[in-house]
């Protein structure tokens, strides 16, 4: 069974700083997807970024980028120029094709003014 581990329960940075959230996973699969979801206080689950395992190029979405290290089974999220609206719980998730998402425990990120 796949497992996802987020080793940072909480993080806090100042507005405009850059922050990196860590995620490791365990799988014997070669084809899969990795995601970061954001859950603000409203508790809506919002997709931040996705990465296909077969792609070597790291995904980017505006201020959000990932560092995908397939051999190391590592998938970190970097948030540049952090904003107050980035304050949320961030979940790393693993998925095999057309199957369930397996989530990590989450990292609570606070952006301070």
């Amino acid at each position: 069974a796949q497992t996802v581990t987020q080793s940072q329960p909480e993080m806090s940075v100042q507005e405009a700083e850059t922050v990196t959230l860590s995620c490791t996973y365990d799988t014997s699969e070669s084809n899969y997807y990795l995601f970061w979801y954001k859950q603000p206080p409203s508790r809506q689950m919002i997709l931040v970024i996705r990465q296909e395992a077969y792609k070597q190029q790291n995904a980017t979405e505006n201020r959000f980028s990932v560092n995908f290290q397939k051999a190391a089974k590592s998938f970190s999220l970097k948030i540049s120029d952090s904003q107050l609206g980035d304050t949320a719980m961030y979940f790393c998730a693993f998925m095999k094709r057309v199957q369930k998402l397996v989530f990590g425990q989450g990292t609570r990120l606070t952006i301070n003014p």
């Binding site: 997807y33 995601f35 979801y37 508790r43 809506q44 689950m45 919002i46 997709l47 996705r50 979940f91 998925m95 094709r97 057309v98 199957q99 369930k100 998402l101 397996v102 989530f103 990590g104 425990q105 989450g106």
Partner: protein, 114 residues
């Protein structure tokens, strides 16, 4: 763009009562997933449907059942509710046949069992 719709958004029930949660996926999405998120926890997979057939089953209690209808909406039926069923229930949808594996979540239904 249209999003996943869930109803009701909030639900309060007594122990041993029944509840029905509804999910309307994004148009043209063929796969629906249900997740349960307890307080301070990550979402846990319950069940999924692809083209109206159950495709996977997770840690869903026998007291719960679900189905996907011809219009692709899905319903999660919960009977003999227990205090521990109080949680946020998410529905997510994806377009699997189109190779778009990304799951998009609805706003969730907050269930409180008293």
């Amino acid at each position: 763009a249209a999003g996943v719709i869930q109803s009701p958004r909030h639900l309060i029930k007594e122990k041993r009562e029944t509840a029905t949660l509804k999910c309307y996926p994004i148009p043209r999405h063929d796969t629906v997933y249900w997740y349960q998120q307890g307080p301070g926890q990550d979402p846990q997979f319950l069940i999924s449907f692809y083209e109206k057939m159950q495709s996977d089953k997770g840690s869903i209690p026998d007291r719960f059942s679900a189905q996907q209808f011809s219009d692709y909406h899905s319903e999660l039926n919960m009977s003999s509710l227990e205090l521990g069923d109080s949680a946020l229930y998410f529905c997510a949808s994806s377009f699997s046949a189109g190779g778009q594996e990304t799951q998009y979540f609805g706003p969730g239904t907050r269930l409180l069992v008293l």
